[in-house]
C-alpha cells in the first residue's frame, strides 16, 4: 500500500512522540475489499487549551491513505468545539465511496464555570433481574480560569433493576465546589411474567380463622418477586374459582383461574374434664368431653396426652368425627397430672388444635373424729368427712368444696332394701344387723370430678343429725365446725392429716353444695358464718339441690344456685325457689341461678340414695317421665363444675346458665338424653326496672314511671286462689289476653341503658285452661327511645317461656328471658339506648296463639 498523506488542517495534532497518528489497517488486497480502500489515523487526543465562549474551530492532524493511492477526502466533525464537546471523529472517503473512520477525545477548558456533561438518558432491555450496564461517563469541562477537575465517579450500581434509575456523577474540582450531573438509566422488560394455576386446597382450622390461599408461583426473567394478586379470596368452605393476576415490575401481567378448595377442619370446642373417678388400683380414670367444632370436613379427632402443658403430646386415640358431642375415658392417665388436647383431622391432614386441658390425679382421704363438741349441737357427735383431693397438693392452693347430704336412713340392711333410720348421736349405725349408710359417700362422683379439676372436696356425714325432726340449724353448725377444722389443717396442720393440707387450700373462696336438708343447711351457712366468723374462711358459692326451706334461710353475700328437680316426690314444693327469690338483692353483686330440671327426682343426685322417691303413692312422675339416675348425675356433674368455675374461679358464667342458650350438647350427650333445663338467672350487676312490689305497684314501676296494661281480660294482679300454683316469694303481674290485642307498657322516663347489656325478665306460664294447646308462649318485646325509634324482637327469638312441665305437684315456676340490647340495636340500628322511654310487651302475635296468660316478674337491666 502506498501511503498518501494529506494536510487537512492548520493544526496538526501529534502523538506524544510527535509522530503522525498510526493508520488503521485497511485490509488491502483482501477479498471483497475495494481497491481504493482508505485507512485513517486520528490523534490519541486533541488538546485545545482554553476554548473561549462561543467555541473554537477544530483542527486535527489526521493521517490517511488508500490501498491503491487514489486520492481520498477527509472530513472531521465537529467543525467547532463548544462547551460539552468531548470528542470528534474523522472520516476518509475514497473515490469509490469506500470509507474509514477514526475518533479522538478532545481536551480543553472553557471560559466560565467548569461543568460535567452527563449523557441524559440510557435505555436498555433487561437481561435478568438485574441488568449489567456501563453508564456513559460524563464529559468534563474544566474552566480556563479554575482548577483541575478530577475523574468523575458515580453511584451507579453494578446492575440495574427493571425500571428507571438515576445515576449521579460527580467530580471534584481543585479549589472549587465539586461538579455533578445525572444520567437516567431505564431498564425495560417487554416480556410478561409466566403464571401457572395448579389447584390448591386450604385447611381452615377455626370458624373465625382467615382463609389464606397460597399464591400460585409466577416467574419472570427480569423480576425475581412478581406480584401475584388473588381476588376475591374465598370466604367459605367449598371449591371456588379465583382469578389470579401476576404483575412484574415493568407492569407486564399474566392471568389464570385458580381452583381453590377450602376445607373446614375445625378444632373441637369445649374440651374439658367432665368426669373423673378414682379406680380400684388407685389410678384416676379421666373422662374428657367436647363438642364438635363445626368443621364439615373433619373426619376424625386425635386425642393427645402429655405430662406438661406444652407437651410433648402423644396420641392416645383417634376417634371418628361426628356432629354433636363426644366423650372419651382415659384409664391410663399418668400421675400426678395429665394434659390433653384434640387435633382435628381431615384424613391425614391436621386441622385445628384445642388448647390443652389439665386433669389432676385424685387422692382419697378422710377423717372420722368421734365424740366431738360442736357449738350449736346439743350433744357430742362425730365429725366424719370423705375427702377427695388432687394427689399433688403442691400445685395448689386449691379451693375447698364442702358437700352435705340430707335426711336419709343411716342403717343399711344387707339384703338390698332401703336404708333405715336409727336416731343416734354418732355417724355409725349402732345396730349390728346393719352397716352404716354411706350417705356422705353419695357425692363421690362429684367430688372426684372436681378434685381432678383442682378442688379439694369433702363430703360431710350428717348421719348423727338424721332421723330427727328438724335439725336444720344444727346441720349448718356442723358445716361451720368442719370449716374450723379445715382451717387448722390448711394452716399448721394437725391430726389426722398432719401437714398434708398445710398451705394447700384457699379457704377464702369456699364452695358449699347441699342436698335436700343439706341444701337448706348450706343456704343458711353464709349468715351463720357472718354470725360466727372463722378467720381466713369465706364462702364464695352455694348450691342447693332439692333443698328444703324449713328455716327460710336467705343466702346473700355469696353466689347462690338452686336446683329444682321437677319430679321431686319428697320436697314436692320445690321450695328452694323461695331461697332464690329471697336472695334477689340487686345490691348483692353475686350470681344467682335457679334451674328447674325436668324429669329429675329427689334422690338420685346422691348415688347412695338408691331408690326412686317416686316409688309409691307419693309420686310426682312415673319412671317413664323421669330422665333417670345417671342423667341426673351427668347433668349435675357438668353444671356444678361450670357453676364453680364461674363463682369460685371467676370464669365467665356460661350462656346456658344465664338462660341465654339451650342445654349444651355435651351435657345432653353425657346424660344420654336431651335435657329440659329451665333457668332463672340474676347477674351480679342489675338495675331493677320493676319488681312489681312496693307503693304504687303494679301501676308504678321502680323508676317512678307509670305502667299501663291494656286489653287484658282479667285483673293484672292475682292473689289468693288465683295464685294457688304460684309459690314464689317475688311479686309478679298476671297478664291474660284473648283474641284482641293486649299490651303491657312500662314507661322508662328516658332511661339511659348504655353500659347495660341485657334486658332481663322472668315469666311463668300459668296452669290455666286459657293456655290449653300452647307449648311455648310468644309475644313481642318492644323498646322505644325518645326520638320515636322502636326496636322489636319476639320472645322466642331470645328465650323461651314453656307451658307446664310434668309433675303431679306442678307449679308455676318462673324462668328468665334475657333480651340482649345488641339484639334490639340490631333490630333498629338507630335506637338510642341513652334515652329509652318505654318497654312494651305486646300480645298475641299474628299467627300465634290467640290467648294466653303468664306471670311476669323481675324486670331488670343487667350487665352480664
Amino acid at each position: 500500500m502506498r501511503r498518501v498523506a494529506l494536510a487537512l488542517a492548520v493544526l496538526v495534532a501529534l502523538g506524544c512522540d510527535g509522530a503522525p497518528p498510526p493508520l488503521s489497517d485497511a485490509g488491502c488486497g483482501e477479498p471483497g475489499r475495494p481497491a481504493d480502500q482508505p485507512s485513517i489515523g486520528c490523534p490519541a487526543v486533541v488538546e485545545l487549551g482554553c476554548v473561549e465562549e462561543g467555541g473554537a474551530p477544530l483542527d486535527v492532524d489526521v493521517a490517511a491513505a488508500s490501498c491503491d493511492g487514489s486520492p481520498i477526502t477527509v472530513t472531521c466533525t465537529p467543525e467547532r468545539v463548544v462547551a460539552g464537546t468531548t470528542g470528534g471523529t474523522c472520516a476518509a472517503v475514497a473515490p469509490s465511496g469506500a470509507r474509514a473512520e477514526c475518533a479522538f477525545p478532545i481536551r480543553y477548558r472553557v471560559r466560565g464555570p467548569a461543568s460535567l456533561g452527563c449523557t441524559p438518558s440510557v435505555t436498555v432491555a433487561c437481561t435478568s433481574a438485574r441488568t449489567a450496564l456501563d453508564v456513559p461517563r460524563p464529559s468534563v469541562m474544566a474552566s480556563c480560569d479554575g482548577g483541575d477537575v478530577g475523574d468523575p465517579t458515580s453511584d451507579a450500581p453494578g446492575a440495574f433493576a427493571v425500571g428507571v434509575t438515576s445515576v449521579t456523577w460527580s467530580a471534584p474540582v481543585s479549589g472549587g465546589a465539586p461538579l455533578a450531573c445525572v444520567t437516567r438509566v431505564e431498564v425495560t422488560d417487554a416480556t410478561p411474567p409466566s403464571l401457572a394455576c395448579a389447584p390448591v386446597t386450604v385447611t381452615r382450622t377455626a370458624p373465625d380463622a382467615a382463609i389464606v390461599v397460597p399464591a400460585p408461583r409466577a416467574t419472570d426473567a427480569c423480576d425475581e418477586d412478581v406480584e401475584v394478586a388473588l381476588a376475591p379470596v374465598p370466604s367459605a368452605r367449598g371449591t371456588h374459582t379465583v382469578p389470579v393476576t401476576a404483575t412484574d415490575d415493568a407492569g407486564g401481567t399474566a392471568r389464570c383461574d385458580l381452583e381453590v378448595t377450602v376445607r373446614d377442619v375445625f378444632a373441637p370446642v369445649g374440651l374439658r374434664v367432665i368426669s373423673a373417678e378414682l379406680a380400684g388400683d388407685g389410678t384416676t380414670d379421666v373422662t374428657l368431653g367436647w363438642e364438635d367444632g363445626g368443621g364439615a370436613d373433619a373426619t376424625a379427632v386425635r386425642l393427645e396426652r402429655a405430662t406438661a402443658p406444652d407437651g410433648p403430646f402423644a396420641a392416645i386415640a383417634t376417634l371418628d368425627a361426628a356432629p354433636g358431642a363426644a366423650t372419651y375415658t382415659d384409664a391410663e392417665a399418668p400421675a400426678p397430672v395429665a394434659y390433653y388436647r384434640l387435633v382435628a383431622l381431615a384424613g391425614a391432614v391436621e386441622g385445628g388444635v384445642t388448647a390443652p386441658v389439665r386433669a389432676l390425679s385424685i387422692a382419697a382421704e378422710g377423717y372420722h373424729l368421734r365424740d366431738e363438741a360442736v357449738p350449736g349441737i346439743g350433744f357430742r357427735t362425730s365429725l366424719y368427712g370423705v375427702v377427695r383431693a388432687p394427689m399433688d397438693l403442691s400445685r395448689g392452693p386449691f379451693p375447698l368444696v364442702v358437700f352435705l347430704h340430707g335426711n336419709h336412713g343411716t342403717c343399711r340392711p344387707a339384703d338390698g332394701r332401703e336404708d333405715q333410720c336409727e336416731t343416734r348421736t354418732v355417724h355409725d349405725c349402732q345396730d349390728a344387723r346393719f352397716t352404716t349408710t354411706p350417705n356422705a359417700e353419695g357425692y363421690l362422683y362429684l367430688q372426684e370430678t372436681l378434685a381432678a379439676s383442682g378442688y379439694v372436696t369433702v363430703s360431710l356425714s350428717a348421719n348423727a343429725l338424721n332421723c330427727r325432726d328438724g335439725f336444720l340449724r344444727e346441720r349448718t353448725q356442723l358445716i361451720l365446725e368442719h370449716l374450723r377444722r379445715w382451717r387448722g389443717w390448711a394452716g399448721a396442720g394437725g391430726p389426722p392429716f398432719g401437714a398434708t393440707f398445710a398451705g394447700a387450700l384457699d379457704l377464702s373462696r369456699v364452695a358449699l353444695v347441699g342436698h335436700s336438708r343439706g341444701g337448706e343447711a348450706v343456704a343458711g351457712a353464709p349468715a351463720a358464718l357472718r354470725a360466727s366468723p372463722i378467720e381466713g374462711v369465706a364462702i364464695a358459692s352455694v348450691l342447693g339441690i332439692g333443698s328444703t326451706d324449713y328455716e327460710t334461710p336467705t343466702p346473700t353475700g355469696v353466689a347462690f344456685a338452686a336446683v329444682l328437680p321437677a319430679c321431686d316426690a319428697d320436697v314436692t314444693t320445690l321450695e328452694a325457689l323461695r331461697q332464690y327469690d329471697r336472695g334477689l338483692d340487686p345490691y348483692d353483686p353475686r350470681d344467682r341461678a335457679q334451674v328447674l330440671f325436668l324429669g329429675a327426682n329427689h334422690n338420685y343426685f346422691n348415688r347412695e340414695w338408691r331408690f326412686d322417691d317416686n316409688d309409691g303413692a307419693r309420686r310426682a312422675c312415673t319412671s317413664a317421665q323421669q330422665v333417670g339416675a345417671a342423667a341426673q348425675r351427668g347433668m349435675l356433674e357438668i353444671v356444678l363444675a361450670d357453676w364453680l368455675r364461674a363463682t369460685v374461679e371467676g370464669a365467665p358464667t356460661p350462656a346456658y346458665l344465664r338462660a341465654e342458650a339451650g342445654t349444651p350438647a355435651l351435657i345432653d350427650f353425657w346424660a344420654d338424653r336431651a335435657l329440659d333445663l329451665r333457668w332463672s338467672y340474676a347477674g351480679p350487676e342489675r338495675l331493677v326496672v320493676d319488681d312489681f312490689a312496693g307503693a304504687g305497684a303494679p301501676l308504678l314501676n321502680d323508676l317512678g314511671e307509670s305502667n299501663l296494661y291494656s286489653g287484658m281480660i282479667a285483673d293484672i294482679t292475682c292473689t289468693g286462689t288465683c295464685a294457688r300454683n304460684f309459690s314464689h316469694r317475688v311479686s309478679a303481674v298476671r297478664p291474660a289476653w284473648r283474641d284482641a290485642p293486649a299490651q303491657m307498657s312500662f314507661a322508662l322516663g328516658g332511661l339511659d341503658a348504655t353500659g347495660w347489656e341485657v334486658l332481663s325478665m322472668r315469666f311463668a306460664s300459668r296452669i290455666a285452661t286459657i293456655n290449653d294447646g300452647i307449648t311455648e308462649h310468644d309475644l313481642a318485646i318492644r323498646v322505644r327511645d325518645a326520638g320515636g325509634t322502636t326496636a322489636e324482637v319476639t320472645l322466642r327469638a331470645v328465650g323461651r317461656v314453656p307451658h307446664r312441665y310434668t309433675s303431679r305437684f306442678e307449679q308455676e315456676i318462673l324462668s328468665t328471658v334475657r333480651v340482649p340490647l345488641s339484639a334490639l340495636r340490631a333490630a333498629a340500628p338507630g335506637l338510642d339506648l341513652g334515652r329509652l322511654t318505654a318497654l312494651e310487651l305486646g300480645m298475641p302475635l299474628p299467627g300465634g296463639a290467640p290467648a294466653g296468660s303468664v306471670w311476669m316478674s323481675d324486670l331488670e337491666l343487667a350487665r352480664e
Partner: protein, 182 residues
C-alpha cells in the same frame, strides 16, 4: 367410644311435649289414688346405655360391673311382717301433748310405726290422732318410728290415726281407724 348427635334441634319442645303427654296419661290412669305405704323397693340399675364410659350411665355401669362382677340388682330378701302400728306404755320423763308442746310425762305411751313403710325423707312425719298432732319423733332402732304422747289419758278415743308430713297438708296415710291403748 361412641359419638352421637344430640337430640333434635328443638329438643326442648320435644321433651316438653312428651312429658306433657305422659303426664296426661299419668293423671288419666288415676295415679293420684289412695296412699298406701309401700314395701321396700328394688334397687334401680341403669342398664340401658351403650359402650363403657361414653355416657354417665355407661360409666356407672362399667364401674358397677368391675366392682360386683355382674350387673344384676341385689337380691331382695323376704321381709318378716311387722305390725304397722304398736302402742305401748313406756317410762319417759316427758312427751308431747299433741298441741305443739313438750311436757312432763304423766302416763307416757309410745306410738310406734313400722318405719320400713315410711322411709326417711326430707319431710318430717307428723302423727295425727284426731285433733292432736305429734311432731317429735325418733327411731330408737332401725325400722321403728316412735312418737311419745305424754299422757295416754289425753289421747282421744275412737278417732282415726294417720301419718302426715310437714309441708304437705294434703298428704296423709291412714294408720288405724281408731287408737287402741294397751
Amino acid at each position: 367410644m361412641t359419638v352421637r348427635a344430640p337430640g333434635p334441634i328443638d329438643r326442648w319442645n320435644a321433651a316438653a311435649l312428651a312429658a306433657l303427654a305422659a303426664g296426661a296419661l299419668f293423671a288419666t290412669l288415676g295415679c293420684a289414688g289412695p296412699d298406701d305405704p309401700s314395701p321396700s323397693r328394688a334397687t334401680v340399675v341403669d342398664a340401658r346405655r351403650e359402650g363403657a364410659g361414653t355416657t354417665r350411665a355407661s360409666r356407672e355401669l362399667a364401674v358397677a360391673a368391675e366392682a360386683r362382677g355382674e350387673l344384676a340388682p341385689p337380691r331382695v330378701a323376704p321381709v318378716a311382717p311387722r305390725p304397722l302400728v304398736t302402742v305401748r306404755r313406756i317410762e319417759a320423763s316427758e312427751g308431747e301433748d299433741g298441741r305443739g308442746a313438750l311436757v312432763a310425762a304423766v302416763d307416757a305411751v309410745a306410738i310406734e310405726l313400722d318405719a320400713e313403710r315410711f322411709e326417711p325423707r326430707a319431710r318430717d312425719p307428723i302423727l295425727v290422732v284426731g285433733e292432736l298432732s305429734f311432731t317429735r319423733y325418733t327411731h330408737p332402732s332401725p325400722g321403728v318410728l316412735r312418737f311419745v304422747a305424754a299422757d295416754a289419758g289425753a289421747l282421744p278415743r275412737g278417732v282415726p290415726l294417720y301419718l302426715s308430713w310437714s309441708g304437705e297438708p294434703d298428704h296423709r296415710v291412714s294408720i288405724a281407724d281408731a287408737l287402741e291403748l294397751p
